[in-house]
């Protein structure tokens, strides 16, 4: 995980008013030591750690955001913190948004509303895929015209409800939820590995004993390399060479027990336990409950304000 220590001049930042604060950003050094801020774990769409939202509104928002996620696949998260731990809200919200991975991978359609109670600062962090719809301008207006006045008068519930409503209104229709095939959320990585594994086994079945050893030693690392699109470290591949050799020797023996194959080669049916089918069999049983965030990316879009 990358860590973004964007800003260091914090004391100055807290006291700045909503308009002027952001302009100081570019005056600040690029690398500074990250201070005491730790990204909290999420429990749902709404994470009210500063206890600003009443329980029933919290549940209502949670349901609303869940159904929005299901219909549009756009994920909106809320986090309130008692304190931002001494770092500017822009940095805190980017850290949270990236670590949680709000939004879907590839669509980058996540939004985070972060509120720091002690600092009296709030920020709407907008994912890359939504920057064109929920622009900085619009996010700024939601903060200026909805959140700030409501928070000033202590009407937190209303502020959150209306701000979330505005965010949803702005982003509705931009993305659609993918139709859910079986195992929609299963990782593609596992199934492709299994397919490679299956090919490996078939291939080894055709070969003689020595060739099995050599073949296993080479094919396992090569297939791992290809299967992972080059992101594997080279020493892992080295380690896979003896592992492959061993597999090359042992695997066909096991298979021989379940299915007798001649020297002509092994038919597909000889694969144990529907090996090729495993990847597609994972399903999350419909749409009950919060399924976690989806790995959306953020580029610093959005707006901040204070009250």
């Amino acid at each position: 995980m990358l860590s973004y220590s964007l800003l260091g001049r914090t004391a100055l930042h807290h006291r700045s008013n909503p308009i002027g604060g952001g302009f100081l950003l570019f005056l600040l050094p690029l690398f500074s030591v990250a201070q005491g801020f730790e990204v909290p774990a999420y429990r749902g769409y709404v994470n009210d750690q500063a206890d600003l939202i009443s329980d029933h509104v919290e549940r209502q928002l949670e349901r609303l955001l869940q159904s929005f996620d299901e219909s549009d696949s756009t994920q909106v998260a809320v986090l309130t913190l008692p304190s931002l731990g001494g770092i500017p809200i822009e940095e805190a919200s980017l850290q949270v948004a990236e670590k949680w991975g709000i939004g879907r991978r590839g669509k980058d359609n996540g939004v985070l509303l972060l509120v720091g109670r002690e600092e009296r600062r709030m920020r709407l962090e907008v994912g890359r895929g939504l920057e064109a719809t929920l622009t900085d301008l619009l996010a700024g207006r939601i903060i200026d015209q909805v959140l700030t006045p409501a928070f000033r008068e202590g009407r937190y519930d209303e502020g959150f409800q209306r701000a979330i409503g505005a965010v949803i209104a702005a982003t509705r229709g931009e993305y659609q939820a993918d139709p859910r095939p079986r195992g929609a959320r299963g990782t593609p990585g596992i199934s492709s590995y299994l397919i490679f594994f299956g090919i490996l086994v078939i291939f080894l079945g055709v070969l003689g004993r020595v060739a099995r050893l050599l073949g296993g030693a080479l094919l396992l690392p090569v297939m791992t390399y290809l299967g992972s699109a080059g992101s594997v470290v080279w020493w892992v591949l080295l380690l896979l060479i003896p592992a492959g050799a061993l597999l090359g020797m042992v695997l066909p023996l096991f298979l021989a027990g379940t299915h007798r194959y001649g020297h002509r080669g092994m038919p597909l049916g000889g694969l144990p336990g529907g090996m090729l089918g495993l990847g597609g069999g994972r399903s999350f049983g419909g749409s009950s409950g919060f399924g976690g965030f989806g790995g959306g990316r953020f580029g610093g879009g959005g707006a901040s304000g204070g009250w």
């Binding site: 308009i19 952001g22 005056l27 390399y225 580029g299």
Partner: protein, 194 residues
Amino acid sequence: MRRLFKLLFILSVLVMLQACGYNTIQEKDEAVIALWADVEAAYQRRADLIPGLVETVKGYAAHERETLTAITEARAKVGSLTLGKEVLENPQAFEGFQQAQGALSSALSRLMVVVERYPELKADQGFRDFSHQLEGTENRINVARVRYNEGVRAFNTSIRTFPGSLTNSLLLKLPRREPFKAEAGAEKAPAVKF
């Protein structure tokens, strides 16, 4: 059998190329170029905002001519910069890019100081919109620069550590990439408090 050995030989060469970091270096270099494109896009976005911002400010503070001209000039200089991959390959162009953008940054921050004297301007919805956009853009620039620097660091590390160092000196001969330095004056806290 002979054919099989030939195949195995080719495969092992592939594995060895991976082991020597050839692909890693190439990947990281491409990543740096992509990250640079983000940096340029963020800066471009800022340059695009400026004419509108200047117009809005003029409506309330036309006699702050000096500040406004400084911004317009700094923006013109930014507009004349060479862009794209060439900037990365040419340290002078990179330096020039940083300087011109830095000049625009400081012209903008001077404007924001001036703005403090005009409460009606600060309350103007058009100005608030611009200020949010400018804030967002500055934040994006920061993010893009930090990510670029991280990409550069990863790339530089890959060509300086074994086995990448060997591969690079024998095969690729790629130069070290320059990271952004903190802008001049950034180490001092700004004297003005908003």
